[in-house]
């Protein structure tokens, strides 16, 4: 084992780690924005709203992320002429766009399911108490249901964030140089296989547990009296 070679390329590896964090945060924010209306659509009484949302969530949770990435990145090539006519080919030709789009759709589906569960888990008493105080509709949702659901869903959402961080490693398969991509590139240049992979693994480990810690602190602030913990589970 010779880790001095890793030392030499460490700045490049750190750049890759930065790319990983950047992709994670962008997908996370857009995915979160998409997930809340999706969760509400899942809960809608109108079947024409609820069933498309159900199919979307089922598809993106029931198929591997790698297939989703390939379907968007390689699959869009089949419609090159149509996409060019629409002026969209510039986006679908770009691996960054395709990778982030796949991650956004994937995390939106998983997060929507978490929020749906959290919204249904809000105790009926709370909602009835809100109604008794004269709140209804949007005001009730904004003041009572959403804050409570957010607290209930936070541990599971923390898990989802950690999964997303690790899932971003898959975008290296469509030429993006994130931490995994950069390690693979450096290995093909230097042939120091396990040195680079072990370093990358250590970096992911640090990022993961830093996130776990942040979510734990956040949860304590949100619901110190309820005390739930983030545990990384298979989703």
């Amino acid at each position: 084992m010779d880790f001095s070679i890793v030392w030499q390329y460490l700045p490049i590896m750190l750049e890759g780690a930065w790319v990983t964090l950047w992709i994670t945060s962008v997908s996370l924010v857009i995915g979160l924005v998409a997930a809340i209306p999706l969760a509400l659509a899942r809960l809608a009484k109108n079947p024409f709203i609820a069933s498309p949302a159900y199919v979307f969530v089922l598809y993106f949770r029931g198929t591997p992320l790698l297939v989703q990435i390939f379907l968007i990145y390689y699959g869009s090539g089949q419609f090159r002429l149509e996409l060019t006519d629409l002026g969209l080919w510039g986006f679908f030709r770009d691996p960054w766009f395709c990778g982030i789009l796949a991650l956004v759709l994937n995390t939106a589906a998983y997060s929507a399911e978490i929020f749906r569960g959290a919204i249904t888990a809000v105790p009926r008493n709370d909602i009835e108490a809100g109604r008794a105080c004269g709140m209804s509709g949007l005001l009730l949702f904004r003041r009572i249901t959403l804050p409570k659901a957010f607290r209930i869903g936070l541990p599971a959402y923390g898990n989802e964030v950690i999964f997303l961080l690790q899932a971003t490693s898959l975008v290296s398969t469509i030429t993006i140089l994130d931490l995994t991509g950069i390690s693979r590139q450096l290995i093909s240049k230097t042939f120091a296989v396990y040195e680079f992979y072990l370093t990358a693994a250590a970096m992911y480990l640090i990022m993961t547990y830093a996130l776990v810690y942040l979510f734990r602190v956040w949860e304590k602030r949100m619901s110190g009296h309820l005390q739930e913990r983030v545990v990384v589970e298979a989703r």
């Binding site: 084992m1 949770r61 591997p64 297939v67 390689y74 089949q78």
Partner: protein, 228 residues
């Protein structure tokens, strides 16, 4: 309307291999899960440390990195050790075995947590009572703990299986001819990547749906004797 240009059977071959890898990896995962949950619950300090390190490390590193590390890293590591000792050998790992072991190793960590929870939800008094009427330690495990733990662990293990079978798509990266790689071959040959990747995604979705139904049945069967 759907023209596969005769590549349908190729995908079917891939599906068989995907399921084979998935099942083998699941067996590895459950065995490691049993070992790991024993380690977590045991009073032995070393076993505790080993099991905790295992789950902490595996859950903090992406599957892809672990897969690449096992498939490409292990042979080079063995070779460099051998070279230092004066031997010149070439090690190649079979992608099926590398894939099975890596996926099993990763999901073994998740199975560990599931099984630990399951063993912990059995009232302590039951094992004590069994010991008191003279059952041996292994007898208690086989006749009291394991059957009940499996019932408690069923939903969690079903969940692990569904994540695991989707993760097998990654093995295509180490050139194993499973569903994902066969799809790539077919889409390259026909220049219709969308058709084939969409079809592949529906096949995975089919596996997920069948697994969900099987899990429901298994849970009803396992909870037959339990009052609700």
């Amino acid at each position: 309307m759907l023209d596969l240009h005769g590549y349908g059977w190729l995908l079917f071959d891939g599906l068989q291999l995907t399921i084979a890898v998935g099942l083998c990896a699941m067996v590895v995962a459950v065995l490691l899960g049993l070992l790991g949950s024993w380690g977590k619950l045991s009073h032995n300090w070393w076993a505790n440390l080993a099991a905790n390190t295992y789950t902490t490390v595996v859950r903090g590193v992406p599957e892809l990195i672990l897969l690449l590390l096992v498939y490409f890293g292990t042979p080079t590591l063995i070779q460099s050790i051998a070279t230092r000792m004066g031997y010149d050998i070439r090690v190649d790992i079979n992608p099926f075995i590398a894939g099975t072991i890596t996926i099993g190793f990763i999901y073994g960590a998740f199975a560990t947590e599931v099984l630990r929870g399951a063993f912990q939800s059995i009232p302590k008094g039951q094992a004590e009572a069994a010991r008191a009427i003279g059952m041996s330690r292994s007898g208690v495990f086989k006749r009291i703990l394991l059957p009940q733990a499996m019932r408690f662990a069923l939903p969690g293990l079903g969940n692990v299986w569904m994540v695991l079978i989707k993760a097998t798509a990654l093995i295509s990266i180490i050139q194993l001819d499973e569903l994902m790689r066969k799809t790539k071959i077919a889409s390259n040959a026909t220049h219709e990547p969308f058709t084939f990747y969409l079809l592949a995604s529906f096949i995975y979705l089919g596996i997920t749906l069948v697994s969900m139904m099987a899990q429901k049945r298994a849970e009803t069967w396992a909870n037959k004797g339990v009052m609700r």
